[in-house]
Structures are given as structure tokens and as C-alpha cells.
């Protein structure tokens, strides 16, 4: 819904919009533990007609139907993964907001780790490239005088060598 709305800000077209989403009291399960499970599962299921919104956030009628189905399966004794499989068997991977880990999503799931490793290698190489010794070359007489001047200036500042 939010995508629709923000897109509408800039595109002209707005899908029929129904604000105030989420679960309705009449759908809820009596058992609070089961209901809590249903809520958590609903958050990971995509409302197919409202693009990028979970069925927990949407009151599109399909989202409502799916919420009811999720609760129906829970009541029938399904485990969480069985419920998810039930919905996925009917609507495909697209319905899962958390994509399954499978060959086609390896790049997605392991990408961030790869970025971090590559980044660290890059930073290490960058640091290595620079000589570890930071012994400065000897100062010339003129430089020494400037340093003294600068230090005098810094002293009345915050006392650190931050310019």
C-alpha cells in the first residue's frame, strides 16, 4: 500500500486504496499463542495485490483470505513451516517476503557477507600499500618554526591536534 501511495505521489495512477489495514477481530484465533504465531507468519507473507506489503498490514480482500487460511492451517495443527509451505505451494516464492535460501537466491543471501569480506580485503590492501612506518622525514628549519607557531595556536584551542 505504501509503495502504491508513494508511487502515486509521482506517478499519476493509484490503485484502489484502503487504508487502515491489518487483522480484524473476527478473524482472530481464540488461543493467544496460536494467534501470535499467525501474526508472525502473516508478517512474512506478501499481499500479492498490494505490492510490498505483508498480509498482516493490508486489508485487501485477498490478504484477508490468506490471513484466514493461515489461521485455518494453524488450527488444523500445521507447524509454522507447514503453513508457509501450504501458501507457497499455491502462490509460489513471490508470496514469501523472506525469500527462500535456494540456488537462485544465494547471491542475495550471501551477497552482504561477500561485500563485507571484499570490503575488508580492499581496506587491508589499501592500508598495506602504505608504508607502515610513519616516521616523518626530518623537518627543515622553516618547517620547524611553522610547527611551533601552529602548536602555539592549537594550545589555546581544545588542546588536541584537530584542526
Amino acid at each position: 500500500m505504501r509503495v502504491v501511495v508513494l508511487a502515486a505521489l509521482i506517478l499519476l495512477q493509484v490503485a484502489p486504496f484502503m487504508p487502515a489495514g491489518a487483522v480484524n477481530p473476527d478473524e482472530m484465533l481464540a488461543d493467544p499463542v496460536q494467534e501470535a504465531r499467525a501474526r508472525e507468519l502473516s508478517k512474512d507473507l506478501r499481499c500479492l495485490v498490494c505490492q510490498n506489503q505483508s498480509i498482516d498490514d493490508s486489508n485487501a480482500s485477498l490478504a484477508r483470505d490468506l490471513r484466514v487460511v493461515v489461521r485455518e492451517r494453524i488450527k488444523a495443527g500445521d507447524s509454522d513451516s507447514q503453513v508457509m509451505r501450504y501458501v507457497r505451494d499455491r502462490y509460489g516464492d513471490f508470496v514469501l517476503l523472506k525469500p527462500p535460501v535456494q540456488p537462485s537466491t544465494y547471491a542475495l543471501w550471501f551477497g552482504p557477507l561477500l561485500f563485507a569480506i571484499l570490503g575488508m580485503i580492499g581496506v587491508t590492501l589499501f592500508m598495506r600499500r602504505r608504508p607502515a612506518s610513519l616516521a616523518p622525514p626530518a623537518l627543515s628549519e622553516a618547517e620547524r618554526r611553522r610547527v611551533e607557531l601552529l602548536l602555539a595556536e592549537v594550545k589555546d584551542g581544545d588542546g588536541r591536534l584537530t584542526p
Binding site: R2, V3, V4, V5, L6, A7, A8, L9, I10, L11, L12, Q13, V14, A15, P16, F17, M18, P19, A20, G21, A22, V23, N24, P25, D26, K43, D44, R46, Q51, N52, Q53, S54, G92, D93, F94, L96, L97, K98, P99, S104, A107, L108, W109, F115, A116, G119, M120, V123, M127, R130, P131, A132, L134, G157, D158, G159, R160, L161, T162, P163
Partner: protein, 665 residues
């Protein structure tokens, strides 16, 4: 008539922009002062013309001239005046016009305030700015003309999506564009520097204020958007990781990294080619964001929203702008010689770590946002990448960045003393450990991640405080001495401390509200009461009333705590007949430490109403924290070294004293 004047002005602006993008470049290459000088006049003239075009469109909206197609499609005579005006940019064509206007404003600011830039650099910067303007004005005129007439004019307009008739969203785009377009200046500086083959601390000093401005605008714009979602969408969510949000968040991450790496260039003459790359990337991501939102690649609302012609046009612009600058980068960046050396444990080292973290986070968000598209384009199936992915990947990446945020400022430049820094931070470690243990006890070890998150927040906040206390030698020197030191600390340093505290506040609020929020959804009848996190909500029922262009049903709750009155909450459902759409207006009462949030849903047909009541702890601090961040940026901008176009060092200022700063004129 006025519309035609606006149209003409935009056409002239295109002509001016074409001249401005070419002549000064030639002038800079040939060292022809007059041609370089032309860039300044052109930039100011362009602002005048674009402003005229923008005002003409605004006028059409204000007087509801439905013979203008844009007005007929997006406005209505019964709309309140505020939304007639903000309606100008609440649509594709008008928002482009706003984009171009802000671009022109920034260009004119460089022309006006950049007086002590070297003339060749200024000419090149303005020329690059003009190239961007040419692209966008051409796009507007040829594929999204806001001045198109409609004959015969309809009796009345189609109205504006009521969700956009809201102050939060009305002012969200201008700030967002301010940020996006602000990065165009850093981009232009980067390209100009590549053309000149020269990046030095002075360059970084010119660039930093612009980056800061853009960053402040973007931060505020994103915060406004998130705030709007929170109060308008009716279930208290504030961030959804959807592509449109990510499109604005990615430039923010790049801009934040740029802000930090430019410091290293300025202070230490290092990380030059990396900073240039970030400047290009930040603006490229702004452009890509524009592409994503407008082309329908990711967010199409069925086929009619998608206009492939527009998408192809923007894609061509992207390829020219981004591809061109990366090509230039590939050729010229290797010639930029790195300067200052430093050890891994140093202020620079911490800033590099910051950049590493932000870049990895940026790459992750990019990957998650684009992945469905990539997979689909390869024919490997359709997947959705939603909040579960982003939460589980983005958050761990940001933790080291936050920790570095507290330690980095303690380290000296070039070669830092990590043990000493950590030693000074003992109180921060203490605070973190205290929060962690207290949290474990209070929650019974339930939400370990949340408690650890809060510990990091405490560490950062204490770290910021310690850094300041160390600087002023609080309690180590006489108070008068500390006071004198406190006043001597540069504003930029204060800006940093404030902005870092802002981040910590945002984190704190997000953790608290995500983990400890209370929700009650049930059917209530008038006279019934329900307890939400210790607050008694008494429902008084629903009555009908009429707004200026909508009909509303208003539900009233009296909220009390321990028998004492707290607030009256009036939540509304509004129906807009012109647009045939409904909105919810959540009723929110903030205690500063939490929001009480009430929404009225549908009637059950027998006198009851579905109500959704929430207690959202700390949630206001998400936006207060964001405002604190912006304030940090603004404070930093008042630092004399950050004044736009004030590159002269103190010493040079002293020498130049009394002379008009007209180096380039």
C-alpha cells in the same frame, strides 16, 4: 496565457542550459575569462526562467485552470488552497518541475556564493550542473510537459489522492529533492575535479558544506516521509524497506559516507579517488531513485502506470550521466595522487571503517532492492525481498559502524591510541554493561537482541558525552577553564556530537517501539473500556461530520491512567467523494516517552466498531532523533570553515583582510 509564458520560459531555460553546459567548459579549457564568466550569468538567468515556469504552473493550480491538463488531472476546485499549491508537485510532471527548480537554485547559489572558487573550477562546476539541467528540462518538455492544454476544459478536475492531501506528505518531496539535487553539486564538483585532474584539501573544503546541506535535506525528507507513514497509514509502521523508500535511503547512505570521507580529504589529503567515487555514486543513486520511482520498473501499479517511453528516456539520461562520469572516473582517477599516510588505528582509520560499513550497507540495500528485478530479468523466477531480509542483513552491518562512531572521535589523526581511547571510554562501557544487565533482569532475558541494541545505544551516547567532556576537560580543570574550552571547540565538532547523538536516539526509539509496542485490536461499543499498556481507553462511539472536501466518521476515546485523565483521542475515517477514496486519520497523543495511537475501523453492523489501539514506546524519538541529526548538520554548517564558498583558511583570510573577495570576478 500565463501557462504559455511558463512553457516559453522553460524552453528558454533549456536553451540557456545548453549554452551553460558548453561555453564555460570551452572557456575553461582555453582560459577565456568571458566564457567562464558566462556560466555565472547563465546560472542566475536559468533560475529566473525556471522559477517563472514553476510559478506559471502554480498559478494554474491556484486559479484551478482546468484547461491545463495537469491541473485537470490532479486538482479540484473544492480542494483547500494549501493542497492546491502543494498539488503542483504531487504528480509526475509538477514534481519534475520542482526538481529542476531546486537544481537551478543550487546552480545559482554556486554562481552567487562561489565567488572565491578558482574561476576554471567554478565554470566547470556550473557547466556540469547545466548538463544535468539539460537532461531534466528536456525530459520534462518532451515526455512530461506540464503545460499541455486540454480542450475543451472539463468542468472540474479529477482531484488529488486524499492521502497526499496532508501536510506531512505535502512537504516531503521538496526536502527529498533538496537532498537529491543537493548531491548534484557534489557530483558537479567531482566531475569538475576529474576534468581538472586535481583534488586537494581545498576542494574537499568547498564540497563539504554542499554535501552537508544535501544530507540535512535528505535526512529531513526521509524523516517526514516516515512520519507520514506512521500517522497516516493507520497501523503505526514507520519504515517498510520498500523500493521507493530504499530509493531515498541509498543516496542517504552514500551521502553519509561521503560526508565522512571528505573529512579525510580535507584534513589529511587522502582517500581522494574514493571520495570522488562516492560523490558520483551519491548523485547517481539519486538519479536511479528517480528512475525506479518513475519508470515503473519496480513499483508499477498495473500497466497504465508504466510509461515505457518515459522509462527509456530516463534510462538514457542515466546511462549518459552515470556511465559518462564513471568512464571519466576510470580514466582520470588513477592520476589522483594520494597524500597523507595513516595507520589503521587512527581517526582516518575509523572513518575508513565508517565508510566500509556504510558502503557494505548500501550495497546490501541495493542488492535487496534490485534482486527481484535481476532475477526476473534473468528468467529465474519471481521472488519478493521484504523487511525480513533487510532487517537480518542491514542491522548487523550497522552495529560496528555505531560502535566505531563512539570510538573514532577519541582517536588522534594519523596514529591513534586505541587502548587510551578505550580507557577514556570506560564510563561508556560501564553504561553499556549496566544497560545490558539491567535490561536482562527487567525482561527476564527475553529480548536479548533488543537489550544488546540498547547497550550499543548507551555506549554511543556516553561516548559522545565523554568525547566532549574530554575536550573541555570537564572536572579535570576548573569550570571556568572548561567553559572557555567549550566555547573554543569548533562548531563542526559540536555538529558531529549532535548528529551522532541523533543517530543514537533514532536507534533507541526504533528498538524500543519495535520490541515493546502494545497492540489491541477488537470490536468496541460506545461506553466500553479497554486497557492498553496501563492506559484505560474509554470508547464514546462514532459520529458523522463534514470536512471541507470530505465526509468523516469520528470515533472518540477518553484515555485515563490510574483514574486520571490523560487525553481525548479523536480518530477519523474520511471519505473523499471527488476522488472516491477513503483515508484513516489516526488519533495520536504523545507523552514524549510513548505515543497512544488509536484508529477506528469498520462497524460490525450491530453497534460495534473495530478499533485498533496502540501504545508505541519511544516512537516520537525516531523523528526527534532525525531532527537532532539535521540540527547537528546545521550547527556544523555555521562553522566558519563550512560556510558555503568560504574556502579561505583563517590565515589567508587575515592576509586578504579588507580586500573584496573577488578573486574570480
Amino acid at each position: 496565457m500565463i501557462t504559455e509564458i511558463g512553457h516559453l520560459a522553460l524552453i528558454l531555460a533549456l536553451v540557456v542550459a545548453i549554452l551553460q553546459s558548453s561555453l564555460p567548459l570551452y572557456g575553461a579549457a582555453q582560459n577565456r575569462a568571458a566564457l567562464m564568466q558566462f556560466a555565472r550569468h547563465a546560472a542566475i538567468g536559468q533560475l529566473g526562467l525556471v522559477l517563472l515556469a514553476f510559478l506559471a504552473t502554480t498559478y494554474a493550480f491556484v486559479v484551478s485552470d482546468f484547461s491545463v491538463m495537469l491541473v485537470a488531472n490532479n486538482s479540484h476546485s473544492a480542494k483547500p488552497m494549501l493542497y492546491k499549491i502543494t498539488g503542483v508537485w504531487a504528480n509526475h510532471e509538477g514534481s519534475l518541475l520542482l526538481w529542476i527548480l531546486i537544481l537551478a537554485v543550487f546552480g545559482a547559489m554556486v554562481a552567487g556564493f562561489g565567488r572565491n572558487l578558482p574561476p576554471t573550477l567554478r565554470a566547470r562546476v556550473l557547466a556540469v550542473q547545466a548538463m544535468i539541467a539539460v537532461g531534466f528540462i528536456a525530459f520534462t518538455l518532451f515526455s512530461s510537459n506540464p503545460f499541455t492544454r486540454l480542450w475543451p476544459p472539463p468542468i472540474d478536475g479529477k482531484g488529488l489522492n486524499p492521502l497526499l492531501q496532508d501536510p506531512g506528505l505535502a512537504f516531503h518531496p521538496p526536502f527529498l529533492y533538496f537532498g537529491y539535487v543537493g548531491f548534484s553539486i557534489t557530483f558537479s564538483f567531482a566531475i569538475a575535479a576529474l576534468i581538472e585532474g586535481r583534488v586537494d584539501p581545498a576542494w574537499a573544503r568547498w564540497v563539504r558544506p554542499w554535501t552537508l546541506w544535501a544530507w540535512c535535506g535528505l535526512t529531513f525528507g526521509i524523516a517526514l516521509g516516515s512520519w507520514w507513514a506512521y500517522y497516516e497509514l493507520g497501523w503505526g509502521g514507520f519504515w517498510f524497506w520498500d523500493p521507493v523508500e530504499n530509493a531515498s535511503f541509498m543516496p542517504w547512505l552514500a551521502g553519509t559516507a561521503l560526508l565522512h570521507s571528505a573529512i579525510v580529504v580535507e584534513k589529511r589529503d587522502a582517500l581522494k579517488s574514493w571520495t570522488i567515487l562516492l560523490a558520483i555514486v551519491a548523485f547517481s543513486l539519486s538519479l536511479i531513485g528517480t528512475f525506479l520511482v518513475r519508470s515503473g520498473v519496480l513499483t508499477s501499479v498495473h500497466a497504465f502506470a508504466t510509461d515505457p517511453a518515459r522509462g527509456v528516456f530516463i534510462l538514457v539520461l542515466l546511462v549518459i550521466a552515470i556511465g559518462g562520469s564513471f568512464a571519466l572516473y576510470a580514466v582520470r582517477a588513477p592520476t589522483l595522487k594520494g597524500g597523507g599516510l595513516f595507520q589503521p588505528i587512527s581517526r582516518e582509520g575509523a572513518l575508513v571503517l565508517n565508510n566500509l560499513g556504510l558502503t557494505v550497507a548500501l550495497a546490501t540495500v541495493f542488492l535487496g532492492t534490485m534482486y527481484p528485478l535481476f532475477l526476473d530479468a534473468m528468467g529465474s523466477g519471481k521472488v519478493s525481498v521484504g523487511p525480513p531480509f533487510f532487517n537480518s542483513s542491514f542491522v548487523p552491518i550497522m552495529v560496528p559502524v555505531l560502535v566505531a562512531m563512539a570510538i573514532g572521535p577519541q582517536l588522534a589523526w594519523k596514529r591513534g591510541d586505541l587502548a587510551g581511547a578505550l580507557g577514556r571510554l570506560w564510563a561508556a562501557f560501564g553504561a553499556a554493561a549496566g544497560i545490558a544487565m539491567g535490561g536482562m533482569l527487567l525482561t527476564g532475558g527475553g529480548d536479548i537482541l533488543a537489550v544488546l541494541g540498547l547497550a550499543v545505544v548507551g555506549f554511543v551516547l556516553m561516548g559522545v558525552a565523554i568525547e566532549w567532556a574530554e575536550r573541555v576537560r570537564l572536572f579535570q580543570a576548573p569550570l571556568a577553564e572548561s567553559w572557555r574550552r567549550a566555547r573554543a571547540i569548533p562548531r563542526a565538532a559540536y555538529g558531529m556530537s549532535i548528529a551522532h547523538s541523533g543517530i543514537a536516539l533514532v536507534m533507541l526509539a526504533i528498538i524500543a517501539t519495535t520490541v515493546w509496542r502494545t497492540e489491541v485490536i477488537q470490536v468496541m461499543r460506545a461506553g466500553e473500556q479497554v486497557n492498553v499498556a496501563g492506559y484505560e481507553f474509554a470508547f464514546e462511539g462514532v459520529r458523522d461530520l463534514n470536512g471541507p472536501n470530505y465526509q468523516a466518521q469520528r470515533g472518540t476515546f477518553q484515555v485515563a491512567r490510574n483514574g486520571r485523565f490523560v487525553a481525548t483521542l479523536e480518530a477519523e475515517k474520511r471519505f473523499f467523494p471527488v476522488e472516491n477514496q477513503a483515508t484513516t486519520e489516526a488519533a495520536i497523543h504523545t507523552t514524549w516517552f510513548a505515543d497512544l495511537y488509536a484508529v477506528v475501523g469498520d462497524p460490525d453492523g450491530s453497534g460495534g466498531w473495530t478499533v485498533r489501539l496502540y501504545h508505541n514506546p519511544m516512537v516520537p524519538w525516531i523523528w526527534i532523533g532525525a531532527v537532532v541529526m539535521v540540527m547537528g548538520g546545521l550547527v556544523s554548517l555555521t562553522d566558519r570553515r563550512h560556510r558555503v564558498g568560504a574556502p579561505a583558511t583563517r590565515r589567508r583570510r587575515a592576509i586578504d583582510h579588507g580586500m573584496p573577495q573577488a578573486a574570480g570576478d
